[in-house]
Symmetry: C2
Subunit: 220 residues, 2 copies
């Protein structure tokens, strides 16, 4: 069948590379879907493999182990989060930018609960990701750095109350508030003990509260 086509060696090797990347991508897709649907712990290598009609061993030719597979997905997620945040980079007022970032961040978390859980609710995630792969302070890749830079700009412009001097501390304060709402909701949404209010509405209130509580008197 291939005898009448005679692909060039170069074309042939290219096809093999392409096929390898295709299987790799299929593994990632299957893993992502199962992780989201059943959680990471409950998803077995065997289940991922059988979903794409491979044996479990095949996965180990593309990823060192289960953690490496998770790490790759996690890396892509950090990129996606940063991409979601970068879109609001052009807004001039730092405070307004922080607000928008907060909304984008929490929307991302509430819509991608499985990813969010792994990115920010476990110890392993970030330390698993090979740090060199992410360019620090490049807002396209480093969401935290982007927040710190925005806070720093606000500090330079004197928008915050005098007790706030440290851009890291202030950034961590904002981030904590957002993360608290998102992660608490993810972990406890089904808990009958708590009469949950709409998290998106509460988040918006919280963002306003944090801005109001940190900014200097005068000028909205």
């Amino acid at each position: 069948m291939a005898s009448n086509v005679r692909p060039q060696p170069a074309g042939s090797v290219a096809r093999r590379v392409r096929q390898k990347e295709e299987t790799r991508a299929r593994i990632l897709d299957a893993a992502r879907e199962l992780f989201v649907r059943n959680g990471i712990e409950a998803t077995t290598m065997r289940a991922i493999a059988s979903r794409i009609e491979y044996t479990p061993t095949a996965i180990y030719h593309h990823f060192r182990d289960k953690d490496a597979l998770i790490e790759e997905l996690c890396y892509l997620d950090f990129q996606a989060l940063a991409a979601a945040l970068i879109q609001i980079g052009e807004i001039a007022d730092p405070l307004e930018r922080i607000k928008r970032m907060g909304v984008a961040y929490s929307d991302f978390g509430l819509e991608n609960t499985s990813q969010y859980r792994f990115m920010f609710m476990t110890q392993t995630a970030h330390s698993l990701v090979n740090v060199e792969r992410i360019e620090k302070n490049n807002p396209e890749q480093d969401a935290y750095g982007f927040l710190v830079m925005t806070v720093e700009e606000g500090l330079r412009k004197g928008l915050f109350r005098p007790e706030f001097q440290d851009e890291h501390q202030l950034a961590q304060l904002f981030w904590s508030g957002l993360h608290g709402m998102v992660s608490l909701f993810i972990a406890k949404a089904d808990d009958p003990w708590i009469e949950w209010r709409d998290p998106r509405a509460t988040i918006r209130l919280l963002i306003d509260v944090m801005i109001r509580g940190t900014r200097r008197h005068g000028a909205l």
Copy 2:
């Protein structure tokens, strides 16, 4: 040896009950220590058993399964947290009380990271605990109910800005902020990506920010 003492049947059965509770307590102690040291997932029933020189099967005579063992520890932790919060119940000003509760809550979380992780950073914890065991709105057992009641008192006294009407929403807002800082620090303290500031200091700032951002103008 026991022939000259001849314990009464009643005393003998009491001893057996006591011994059973002792082993049960030893299991709980061993499990707690290993959970704290190595994490819950990484702690095996076999490890718990061998630590107190029993076979794994013995544990199953005291607890239905691993989840039941975890649940028992978790129940005790919720009691401990509520106990830590109840101590500041006598303070008159609701806002000051919320502040103190926030400090106590975050101290508890930062000092008992393993427990906190399980209580509030997983889905399972609370839903595992048999709900009937905790008395709702009894501040000695229900920390969330205690917070809601305090917020409600603040609302009645008109201490909050007019856009806050719902005691649950406002309680969830405060709780989220605290939880965010505690859980983010627990999950990411070792992450070299973030230049962490002292979480206790940042938490205190955050509490002030949230109070300032929610309370009505005037007074204090």
